[in-house]
Symmetry: D2
Subunit: 280 residues, 4 copies
């Protein structure tokens, strides 16, 4: 028996495919689909976010991302709009018909986020925040667990096990780069995690090439690599004006670059028999 | 200006020395002192813990450690006694006159731990749990911040900055080994962090050779090295019967080994002009 | 000016494409081509190697690999046939018409290898063996430089610079996985190195998914990822009977698996406008 | 049986203590002794080196270091005086009566270095240069093997095993810092390697705090830590004018700082029952 029992292929041989709640079309995440999650690192203000969300819908994004609570290394950096930004996500969701994902950092925000967003994201810094994982295990809501900065594959799957043990089976794993000695890139994307996760577990895995590399020029090549390696999708940062983003501008695509990336991505996905996540 | 402004030497040139509340003698932590924190990884039951606490007091320990909330990689491992164990720490504190330190994992346990223990420990998995750090910043209670598994020196000091920014200046840093490629030891103790922290900041630093190595035979040599490098103390795991410990037995000293280690430690401390932490 | 001046895009904007000497068709390595190098980790005996070489030619391999001098961590492991195996490579080359690549470990073997093989490989353990690199810089023969186990991108390019400085411009870089904390895989393939090398330098880059992962089941997904990320080819270990290989059996493909991998690889290559390396 | 058989405690329970050839007093390296090796990173010219050597002898150094062949990351950096500098080492040896150690990078320099220096050093970049190790195994001359930048303890001991297997038992291991994610220091000194090597093997181990930290202010604290942890000595870089050194100036001590460091070092050594290496 694997230490991550409920997450293992031995426990469940068939792939877990998750249907994400959505105001419009249903969005599928898992084997057979190529899911594209897009949006800015942080929601900065209502006007820009809604405008970008509508543009991303037109360009084919399946799910909208937008951070409200930003875990910043420095207490002096922009920390996100917090609870006051929830309405913006709600509006973007209604406007576009797309489901939204945002990060939860504090158990005390669980109620408001549960009521208003479609996927709750556990950030890499909180991958081993077991109190938080246990609370998420009690919900009937999809959870995305980002891999910790230096978490082994086994530790990552044991974090998922904390959620599974509580009864919540709707888990998406997200590889976002690990910490190594290399300094040219922000992190080192562990592309090997993709086939490994597919062998060890039945859960979907997506890749975040924006955080993994920290450089927008590398986002498309790594997104393509992820899909070619068998990933079920990607999550990328897009900003209407990367040079003036309040956070992560250097790793953000423009909407135009996003559209190009997605077109190429779907070609690689087709070779691996993966269809777009949203039937339209 | 350093990114960790309040933590920096530039902001405060003189060393921060913390006086720990205690039922009996006052315990000093910081430059000029060699503090020895000892106890089991987890409090397992009342009888054993009280007995060991009394023994450790006799053997010269300055502060008692004992985990109630254990952040375990697997949800199937022993998770600690939780809130029901607080009374045991309170009793040990009263019996021995020594201050106690325990880890806080969940903001919701803040009230009970604040009221009953002398130092609140932030574990390495929670070093970047900023919601927790912000709450601790509002307290008038010493906080020990363990270095994250793959946290840089700068990220560690920025975690301290979150607490300092809130107004709480009573911070102890604890180097407990970082994650590297080496697999013979549980972690790799970054002994260089000791002189570096002393140069960059005014905060006290202690070393945890038990978690850093994972092997009890290495605890004494690394404890000696820490003090020789200039650390202000060590935190070691001691168990009355390491072979039957519910967690971390392999890295726990017996009381006899602890006594030997402490004797040698104080000799190295003397060379570095550090006196025992508790005046007796 | 970049520290790796001659290797940089600033020095030479156009991609270096290398024509490998070959008894039959010419083999191109560089932008626009997808080169497939295949063969066993080590040449074990004449019969098996020649048989496998012929099979690999039929299955579309562009270049044959076969180690004679094996840098083994333990002095008690099989060290390769050494100089006595050179004739086997020569025979395989003549039989198949394919160029051959083998590793050089010792400067004293330079004459015999220069005279008999088409590409000289510098292994990851010798990436900073500067005496060896300087000798290779004086040759008119392609050199493949594998990235050191924990070499940064910059150190790797500076190793290439040692060869370039001597006058030899025929350099192929090979990403083969770096050392990290992860233990499920032998190494961690740094897929980000592919787009990064393409941006920083004009030299071709290929990926070795066999050493990078240590698991044959991961070889095809990682090979696909490499090509999707923009790599100019892959080098894979193939063995007629992996279970009985004298070295690296666990990461070796059977000829059948190799054929499947190559077919899929060329589809991903086509999306990136890369054609097979050998015109046939 | 350990994979590093000849190096293991199981093969040889008693500590290996090596007597270094010397024009004057005999110098002992191993358990019971604290050996201090000092000198500049590179020999820069005759006058300065001889002058510094005489000063270091007065200040208590046991062995002189001085690099002739410098393995530099960039081909454009100062590469050392090479063979033309051998006479300078010979003269310093005669003047001071101290044995000398220098690095060998190329097998073709073996004859001249064997004839003229007392300890041959294998640098971290060449730790797995097996051709070189095999040649050193055939000599009757002490060899110092520096740990590779990302070598595990086991790989390091297997490098020693290559030399031992050839018949040469005079091996000194040198921990000089490993590569990690931390960037404040040049490398991360693995102080745990000291007690671990003492448990696993009978060979002496010394620590190089200069390369390990890259900062001269950290050299003394780390040297003290090494001795407190049980190391048999240290190797430190000393330069008469660190600000104008051709290499490694930032990590070099002045002669005055060296004298202070040594005085403190011997106090920690005494606690661990280690006496100065040279009887005088």
């Amino acid at each position: 028996m694997k230490p991550f029992h409920l997450a293992s292929r031995e426990y469940c041989a068939s792939d877990t495919v998750i249907t994400i709640a959505s105001p419009a079309d249903s969005v599928m995440v898992g084997e057979g689909y190529c899911t594209v999650i897009a949006g800015p690192c942080a929601v900065e203000n209502r006007t820009d976010y809604i405008k970008l969300a509508i543009r991303l819908k037109e360009l084919g994004a399946d799910i909208l991302r937008g951070g409200l609570f930003k875990p910043r290394t420095s207490p002096y950096s922009f920390q996100g709009l917090g609870r006051s930004g929830v309405d913006i996500l709600v509006e973007a969701r209604a406007e576009t018909g797309l489901p939204v994902i945002t990060e939860i950092m504090d158990i005390r925000d669980l109620d408001i986020l549960y009521a208003n967003v479609d996927i709750l994201q556990v950030g890499s810094r909180n991958m081993q925040n077991y109190s938080l994982l246990e609370e998420l295990g009690r919900l009937d809501k999809p959870v995305m667990i980002k891999r910790g900065l230096s978490a082994t594959i086994e530790e990552w799957l044991l974090a998922a096990e904390y959620v599974l043990k509580g009864g919540n089976r709707q888990i998406i794993l997200c590889e976002r780069g690990i910490r190594t000695f290399e300094t040219y890139t922000r992190n080192t994307v562990d592309i090997g995690a993709v086939p490994l996760i597919k062998q060890l577990t039945h859960l979907p895995i997506i890749v975040d090439p924006s955080h993994a590399t920290g450089k927008w020029k590398m986002v498309a090549p790594i997104a393509n690599a992820a899909i070619a390696a068998g990933a079920d999708g990607v999550m990328v940062e897009v900003h209407q004006d990367p040079d003036h983003a309040l956070s992560d501008g250097k790793q953000s695509l423009t909407p135009e670059n996003f559209a190009q990336m997605r077109a190429q991505l779907l070609k690689h996905a087709q070779i691996n028999r993966k269809q777009p996540s949203t039937a339209r």
